[in-house]
């Protein structure tokens, strides 16, 4: 992020200082905790880090960061592995939106939004997907209408992760319908808690509510909150998506703490099921346990290989798609393994039996292949951008958006 200079603390010095400070100030990571989704807790943890001088390591110093190098961040990461970190802020707040604002924001936007972000005071969400646009993000139909010195937003966004707890959103909308789809898009910063925006939680097949749908009704946005140029927002979106892939692959330099992904508990979970169903000495079960362990090992080594290769330029930035694909496929296989070991217990169980969640994990397993960009999109990226295979025909290329064929009426599902 910044040039290293002579007077800068070395990564080693920084690491030693962090080690001491963390031991005295940060709470330990709770046992078996994979992914902490408690946003209030994350705000507190981030605040603590900021007070200790360990927040925003690679963010520019003039916008509230420390302005240090990737090596400093990695040094800190090594130390924070066993501490409770505000991981839920990494994606999208720091890794995606922070990175996007650093890249595309105006000086004023960075001044206004980055410092409170780094202090853990403002949490962000992405407003990208819409009910009628899935993988084809640029076919969005959220309407941005120019009204004097501002825009009015109308439409609906969906699959926004954590919108119910967020303060601000990056919202992508269509500002021009008479040009091909990529040429009429504008990106906005949106304050969420305001009249005109309704946030509804979506219940997933697990009964969880990670995702939301939002309904925008004449939401007024000032010109100051346009990111990038009007109608040229697709450039910003592409940058944002690259940051997203990096982040999902644990390769963003801007995050606070590393996900334990693939976490150790994915091994112990499976072993637990095997033990409680009395299958720990069943040879097929043991092979499944072994397979699951091997998968975790390979996934983690693949992440190391690709991340470090990307950092050195041996892999293109699109290589993050490999990690998304690996993660998704591994999660799916893991849920199959859990089901195979749990057997009958996955369908009917006594409360508290670890076999019990194998069934619902299996039922919801495709979430891993859908969330954060479907595996189909990752395969497109890998084949087309990494391997340079010819792109799929886009039937809407060069055609004004309002003349393109969209979904049949029956699939125009929306909640209202």
């Amino acid at each position: 992020m910044t040039e290293s200079n002579q007077s800068m603390e070395t990564p080693e010095e920084f690491q030693l200082r962090a080690r001491a400070w963390l031991a005295d100030n940060m709470p330990r990571r709770p046992e078996g905790q994979g992914h902490l989704r408690n946003f209030d807790r994350c705000r507190e943890l981030q605040k603590l880090l900021h007070e200790g001088g360990f927040a925003g390591v690679c963010f520019p110093a003039e916008y509230g960061g420390l302005g240090l190098t990737l090596e400093h961040q990695q040094a800190l990461d090594e130390e924070t592995m066993s501490y409770d970190m505000p991981l839920a802020l990494n994606i999208p707040t720091f890794g995606i939106i922070g990175a996007t604002l650093v890249e595309f924001g105006t000086h004023e936007q960075k001044q206004r939004y980055l410092p409170p972000m780094i202090r853990g005071e403002e949490i962000w969400v992405q407003f990208l997907s819409e009910p009628s646009s899935g993988s084809d993000l640029a076919s969005l139909t959220m309407r941005a209408t120019r009204d004097g010195d501002s825009f009015l937003l109308n439409g609906s966004k969906i699959w926004s992760s954590g919108a119910q707890s967020a303060d601000y959103g990056i919202c992508v909308a269509r500002s021009n319908w008479d040009v091909p789809k990529h040429d009429g898009i504008t990106v906005f910063i949106v304050k969420i808690k305001q009249p005109g925006i309704v946030v509804e939680e979506i219940v997933d097949t697990f009964g969880g509510t990670e995702f939301c749908q939002e309904f925008f009704d004449d939401v007024r946005i000032s010109m100051d909150d346009v990111v990038g140029e009007v109608d040229a927002g697709w450039t910003v979106v592409r940058g944002l998506l690259a940051h997203e892939r990096n982040s999902m692959g644990n390769a963003s330099p801007l995050t606070s703490g590393l996900e334990l992904a693939p976490t150790d508990h994915v091994v112990s979970d499976i072993v637990d099921i095997a033990r409680t169903t009395g299958m720990a000495s069943d040879p097929k079960t043991r092979q499944l346990v072994g397979e699951n362990y091997a998968l975790r090992f390979v996934q983690s080594e693949t992440t190391n290989r690709i991340s470090s290769g990307m950092a050195r330029g041996q892999f293109p930035p699109t290589a993050g798609a490999l990690l998304r694909l690996m993660g998704a496929r591994a999660a799916v296989r893991r849920s199959d393994v859990a089901l195979a070991i749990a057997g009958s217990g996955a369908a009917a169980w006594h409360e508290g039996d670890p076999a019990g969640n194998a069934g619902s994990r299996f039922v919801g397993r495709q979430a891993a292949e859908i969330g954060g960009g479907t595996t189909e999109m990752q395969r497109n990226i890998i084949s087309e951008r990494m391997l340079q295979m010819p792109r799929e025909l886009a039937a809407d290329r060069g055609i004004p958006f309002n003349e393109v064929r969209h979904n049949a009426a029956t699939t125009q599902k929306s909640k209202k």
Binding site: S129, G134, S135, D136, S139, I158, W159, I202, V203, D204, T205, G207, F211, T277, G278, K284, L339, A340, A342, G343, S344, G345, A346, A347, A348, W349, H350, E351, G356, G359, S360, F362, V363, G364, R365, Q366, A367, E369, I370, G371, T374, T375, E376, R379, E392, L393, A394, A395, D396, R397, I399, V404, R405, H406, N407, A408, T410, T411, K413
Partner: protein, 380 residues
């Protein structure tokens, strides 16, 4: 669906489908998630008027089927129920109806069958024991001879609809071998604990038997000789389960195929993407193969084919894996919508997954095939 239905069977299928679509569309199934039994007894009686519990019962006890091949009619109901993930103990009650019909004394038949046929009596089969045991050889629940009958001790779980039926067919072990008993659900010494379940409306319970006395007259078939009866019941259970699973996939495959044409991405319908087309080709193949296997098992069981068990295990292991595979692919084709609670797909996946692991997992049945084809004899 069987490609070889008679006209009467086709008509029956349509009638059943209309009845279910009207009486218990999927919205109603969602509402029944809060019903302790997962189904409504009055509704069940109306279904029984359509023959849901009469197909395996002889005419003199109020039963009857379309073509004299009751199981081939009954799988039509099971498949249609799968298409709408209907609740109700179709499998459980019919297995008991079959067992009583084939092995019951005249008294037992007279006492139980008319009520089952009318829907006034519900029944279930307590076969499974904890740790995924369903294979007759692995059962442990003990029936000890006592004055005037037997005393049952042990636990059966998961038992479908336990706590919501009137009669329980218990498969137990005596010192002479497997023996089955017809036990009323209010017998003394029996404790029924509801279990958690993956399916929203299919309930399971754990039944603990603390020295439950059962009179000699409650023995179904002969003491110590129930092994073949259990085998036959398993065959029927698997045939019905397979038909239901095929029905779940049939409906979702239809819906998803339509979605592929309606939904556009980059100005093209999803159905135009070759990567998805090829996956659909595999899905189509698996669904046809599942149907072929399910049909073959129903026929083999109906006709007392000597390889019926081998066929049942073959189909059970194949369909178990491939039905959920196809459903998961359908989820994927739907994207985010497919993993939401409000969309119905997960309800189908819950049913198919439940079927996959009840009455033996695919792996269990592959092991059983190895036994049945004689891998043990020559290898030891």
């Amino acid at each position: 669906m069987d490609v070889d239905l008679s006209e009467d069977q086709e008509f029956f299928r349509e009638t059943t489908r209309k009845f279910l679509e009207t009486e218990i569309p999927v919205e109603n199934v969602r509402q029944l998630a809060d019903n302790p039994a997962g189904f409504d007894r009055d509704w069940w009686r109306r279904g029984c008027e359509m023959g849901w519990t009469s197909m395996l019962v002889p005419e003199e006890h109020g039963g009857g089927s379309l073509e004299g091949e009751g199981l081939l009619d009954l799988v039509i109901v099971a498949e249609e129920m799968g298409r709408l993930i209907t609740p109700g103990p179709l499998l459980a009650t019919n297995v008991v109806a079959l067992a009583v019909t084939e092995r019951g004394t005249e008294d037992q038949k007279k006492e139980l069958l008319p009520g089952i046929v009318s829907g006034d009596v519900l029944a279930t089969w307590a076969l499974n024991e904890s740790g995924g045991r369903w294979h007759p050889e692995s059962l442990e629940l003990e029936a000890r001879p006592v004055e005037g009958g037997f005393s049952l001790r042990g636990t059966k779980e998961p038992v479908e609809a336990a706590g919501h039926v009137d009669q329980i067919l218990v498969t137990a072990r005596t010192e002479n071998g497997l023996t089955q008993f017809l036990v009323p659900s209010d017998a003394d010494g029996m404790t029924i604990t509801p279990m958690e379940s993956l399916d929203l409306v299919r309930r399971y319970g754990s039944i603990q038997f603390d020295d439950v006395f059962v009179p000699a007259s409650s023995v179904l078939g002969e003491v110590g000789q129930a092994e073949d009866d259990v085998e036959r019941q398993l065959q029927v259970a698997i045939a019905l389960q397979l038909a239901e699973t095929v029905g779940t996939v049939d409906r979702i495959f239809e819906v998803t195929l339509e979605w592929m044409f309606d939904r556009h991405s980059f100005g093209r319908p999803l159905a135009s993407y070759q990567a998805l087309k090829h996956r659909f080709a595999d899905m189509k193949l698996y669904h046809e193969a599942n149907q072929a296997a399910a049909t073959a098992v129903a026929r083999a069981v109906q006709h007392h084919d000597e390889e019926a068990s081998l066929k049942a295990s073959s189909a059970k292991s194949y369909v178990g894996d491939h039905a959920t595979f196809v459903l998961q692919e359908c989820v994927q084709m739907h994207g985010g919508l497919g993993v939401t609670w409000e969309y119905d797909l997960h309800l189908y996946l819950r049913r198919a997954t439940t079927n996959q692991v009840q009455y033996g997992t695919p792996d269990d049945h592959r092991e059983r095939i190895a036994q049945l084809i004689g891998m043990d004899e020559e290898s030891q």
